[in-house]
Symmetry: C2
Subunit: 348 residues, 2 copies
């Protein structure tokens, strides 16, 4: 299923730790004015002037967060950056720098790490973040990636999770659920491949879903879009852990309740088809799936006219008094208490 | 050799990821004025005002960087913070915040993680750094700790690796080599314990060495000491990877050579005794050992009088023209080219 892209195998040990870092990072360029000193000293030096600094960090572990059987290393490098940049975007801030640390077992040749860093470099370029530091070491098992992302914003631009008001509208960007079904398709193909390594999978019907899983993008455009619409969200969060669990976070931290409308959930036609094919309820996946690097936010009711009909945004519900609780209003107009179950829910 | 400190075992899975983070971080207090928002949103928010920001990151892997057979979890937590804070100190900056990410296999009960975080909290308090974020996940094997440290400094205070001049003096803080020999003692006791679990080791003769290995401290005091002496180093680096390899870094990045004097190396009497006991050459260990979280820096010759005789600092050499190379001048007054060999060198 994956082609052997490493006909040449150079042992990492040949380079040594410092040689390895130098080799992997030699093409990284510094583009942010806030980066005074990047890789090459005990620490990087940054100057954010009057801006506030936003910091987030994520750890990605082989066998837990990704499976190299269907995740090409270049895509993995790209996605690792996206995952972190998404958290910065969820603060309504502008991503500026990342540090990248990796630990690898000796089964990885240098060429594999080069691919990984190619993906990292590509994402860094796409999202205009400088790679300013990191650490490279050996692991006992598998590949481990730890990224810390920094961003900047004016103080009055930053949006927290705790600002949602009782009558606010609940809005989500893009569409949801596709990344989860992309993973299901890949898992199925992996099993087919294990039984018959000569099978040629036809994945045309799944391209969008697979791309959402293997090459997600962070919504760095949302900050600009909202700014142009003159909307400042009252609260915001990224929905990588699944819509329902993130709604629970917003509600808990803001002290409000919520009604989420099933018929308003933005889902892709390909997603619906594949849910039918897998015989899974599409709403369950849409609200619990996760790994859609979209943003969830609340806006004041007065901003309704500004956002209505905008193809980038879907109004999926509204906030309520805390005592009313958090509910999904189904197509049949039944109110079901929402549970933050995440991925586990779907496989039950 | 280590007592069982986890008679009570609570499975991590019972808490879930968010419950786990909440539980482990609930006692962390925010003390830095630059921390506007710590744990609890997509990202932390910081305000460094006119200060420059210094960022460093390290990844610690069980079986590679530490061995839980003799490293108590509380000490490991403490040391993980120290390792990162040391890099901030090596920029002549003041550590202010850290993010802490951990991945653990399910063999770790909650009580083990509580111990780890107790050590982290203790170090955070000692070094006055706020824990502002992190990630908690499962690993396929062992314990993985990833810490990113931030610090602040005025622009003119920051000291890089590349500012050493040809006639500068080379200075090191504290003493060197002890951490490496502490590790040798612990490794030996581990082997004894494996053969005879009932043996009661008498480690009195090794307390200093073991403490240097298990509970090192970062030299956050050096910034204050130098400030009081009105000395600004021309270059600085932390020597966690071993004195010789760090001297090579300073020389390479500053474009100078160096003479290091064997008879000036600051070593502890206990260290000398144990080197004799192990039949290892003390100079070889002192210059290649590593894990001494001391600082190495260069100062202008004019500053000699200010630092002479100060018990915190040892003048161990002087810089030269680049073309003269990098040498160790032995007690017998022989010049030997210095090699950046790190730990491997000793076991050869």
């Amino acid at each position: 299923m994956i082609e052997d892209k490493t006909p040449q195998r150079t042992s990492i040990a040949q380079l040594g730790e410092f040689g390895l870092i130098d080799h992997l990072t030699k093409n990284f360029e510094i583009t942010q004015p806030s980066t005074l000193k990047g890789i090459g000293d005990d620490a990087a030096v940054l100057d954010f002037k009057e801006k506030k600094v936003v910091v987030s960090t994520d750890l990605l572990i082989e066998g837990v967060h990704f499976d190299l059987a269907y995740m090409p290393l270049k895509h993995l490098g790209y996605k690792s950056v996206v995952v972190n940049v998404s958290d910065i975007c969820a603060m309504n801030a502008r991503p500026t720098q990342i540090t990248v640390s990796i630990a690898v077992s000796n089964r990885f040749p240098l060429e594999a790490l080069e691919e990984l860093y190619e993906g990292i470099a590509h994402a860094a370029q796409e999202y205009k973040v400088d790679v300013i530091g990191g650490d490279t070491t050996s692991s006992q098992k598998g590949l481990i990636i730890s990224i810390t992302a920094l961003g900047e914003a004016d103080e009055n631009e930053i949006v927290y999770r705790n600002g949602a008001k009782q009558t606010d509208l609940l809005v989500v960007t893009g569409d949801i659920g596709a990344a989860y079904m992309g993973l299901q398709v890949l898992e199925r193909e992996k099993q087919v491949f294990q039984v018959n390594p000569n099978s040629q999978p036809d994945l045309d019907a799944y391209t969008y879903l697979i791309e959402r899983q293997l090459k997600p993008e962070a919504r760095k455009d949302v900050r600009t879009l909202l700014h142009a619409l003159e909307i400042k969200p009252t609260s915001m969060i990224d929905i990588s852990d699944g819509l329902s669990s993130e709604i629970m976070h917003l509600c808990k931290q803001s002290g409000v309740g919520c009604n989420l409308y099933e018929d308003k959930l933005p889902i892709d036609p390909q997603f619906i088809n594949v849910c039918e094919e897998f015989n899974i309820d599409s709403t369950t996946v849409a609200i619990n799936g996760g790994e859609d690097y979209e943003l969830l936010f609340t806006i004041a009711m007065e901003d309704f006219e500004k956002i209505k009909g905008n193809p980038n945004f879907s109004i999926i519900g509204h906030m309520t008094q805390e005592s009313e609780g958090i509910h999904l209003v189904t197509r049949a107009n039944t109110k079901i208490p929402l549970k933050a179950r995440g991925w586990d829910a779907i496989s039950e």
